[in-house]
């Protein structure tokens, strides 16, 4: 599975790509496989304030809803509207077209609590197998 080196990861399977004071967030390759076909995405609202490790969006498969947590605290500056008409982008391109929201970091120090690609890779390998 592919976990790009330039991203940081959470235990709850979100990735974050930091660019200056802003960052894009999505779910990992592992997560999209676990969720299976994404059929619905509920995006956060512009300007919404989110807290680290608290729910910021919802991704649903046919059978279940999955909460997506903010990897770090901040204010929502953009959301991927394309997912509303084409939620399968999360499955097809979890790290690019399947990004979910963008936020302005309020506590950049929180980034230090996240995992590197290597650390996340190891965490995923220890996850229970089906």
């Amino acid at each position: 599975m592919d976990f790009p080196e330039n991203l940081r990861y959470t235990k709850t399977h979100e990735w974050i790509a930091v660019q200056g004071t802003k960052a894009k967030v999505g779910v990992t390759e592992y997560a999209q496989k676990e969720i299976s076909d994404v059929v619905f995405v509920e995006l956060p609202k512009m300007g919404q304030v989110v807290q680290q490790a608290k729910m910021a969006a919802v991704v649903e498969s046919v059978k279940a809803a999955f909460d997506i947590y903010a990897p770090v605290s901040g204010k929502i500056t953009n959301a991927n509207k394309a997912l509303e008409s084409n939620p399968a982008l999360i499955n097809q391109s979890p790290y690019a077209e399947g990004w979910i929201f963008e936020l302005e970091l309020s506590s950049p120090a929180e980034l230090g609590t996240l995992m590197t690609a290597a650390q996340y890779h190891e965490a995923v390998q220890q996850a229970p197998k089906h």
């Binding site: 709850t12 399977h13 979100e14 779910v27 997560a31 676990e34 969720i35 299976s36 076909d37 059929v39 619905f40 509920e42 919802v58 991704v59 649903e60 498969s61 046919v62 059978k63 279940a64 809803a65 999955f66 909460d67 997506i68 947590y69 509303e84 996850a127 229970p128 089906h130």
Partner: protein, 365 residues
Amino acid sequence: MTMMLETEPTKLPLHEEHLQKGARMGDFGGWLVPLFYSSIMEEHTAVRTKAGIFDISHMGEFLLEGPGALDYLEKNLPRRITPVRLGQAIYMPLVNDQGGMVDDIIVYRMAEQKFLIIVNAGNIEKDFDWFNARVTPGVTLTNLSDEMGLLALQGPLSQTILLECFGAFYKDLRRFHYKDFEGGVIARTGYTGEDGYEIMVPKHKLKQIWDVLFLVGAKHGLLPIGFGARDTLRLEAAMPLYGHELSDELTPLEADLEWAIDLTKENFPGSAVLKKQKETGILKKRVGFEMTERGIPRQGFEIQKEGKTIGAVTSGSFIPTTGKNIGMAYVTAAEAKTGNAIDVMVRGKPVKAVLVSLPFYKRKG
């Protein structure tokens, strides 16, 4: 994202075959079952357009026989059993003394005084106790659940595949009829809203039959189907599921299953309560609805009308073939009208929906 917890459920007899076909396994009422193989989307579509096989060996089977068997069933079941002919099967809810539904079952008449009863996996123990507590002299009740396996072949091409596999002997099998097969039966029944068969055989014969079906079915586009698509298919066909639309507290009248009971029949458990309810009217009713705004309904979501709670969702899903978000629910009888605009409370927010007539899907022909 949060993941579901892993438990240690019972494996199906064909567990290894499911893994070989790439199944994602998951828990279903204490059983480790295939949730999907390729994807729920693809599998739902395959059953609607071609054919699919389901391993439903988790289901329970009881044998009821002896000189008192027919009398026993007439006394305890809400439909007349005497008119059910040899080779025929009949669906009904199992009703408790309060008029609530213990389960829903299919009864097969195997001989004059011999009946096979198929029950839901999660209710095997409860149903067995229910039947057993009512056993009278001349009636023998046996739980075959650990010995029998069950496969369902469903979809418009299922007849073609079945006849190629097992011969023209099964050609004229009518709906809700069965014929003997390999120490079990092949019945023209199912839980998808499509044409199809349920094949019950002793567990040790399952693999052979599974293999033959795929050998022949592959060229017809036959796919293995997991429990994810089983649920979306039965929801679309508006078939109730115990634990969702059926419960020990809800009555068949509330569940819109009056067609599956016989109120002219005397003295079956709950009959007095049901006859009274028929006269006085029900207070809530099972309905179907379709979302008109974005949102997927899920079991337990509240249903409101102008800010007031009128009911709750019992099943809900995105439907792969239509792209619609639909559900079944119980709402107050006064609001249970087709075309009624309602709000489904999705994560605390009202999302618009409209009541529609059931079923959502009806096959052609």
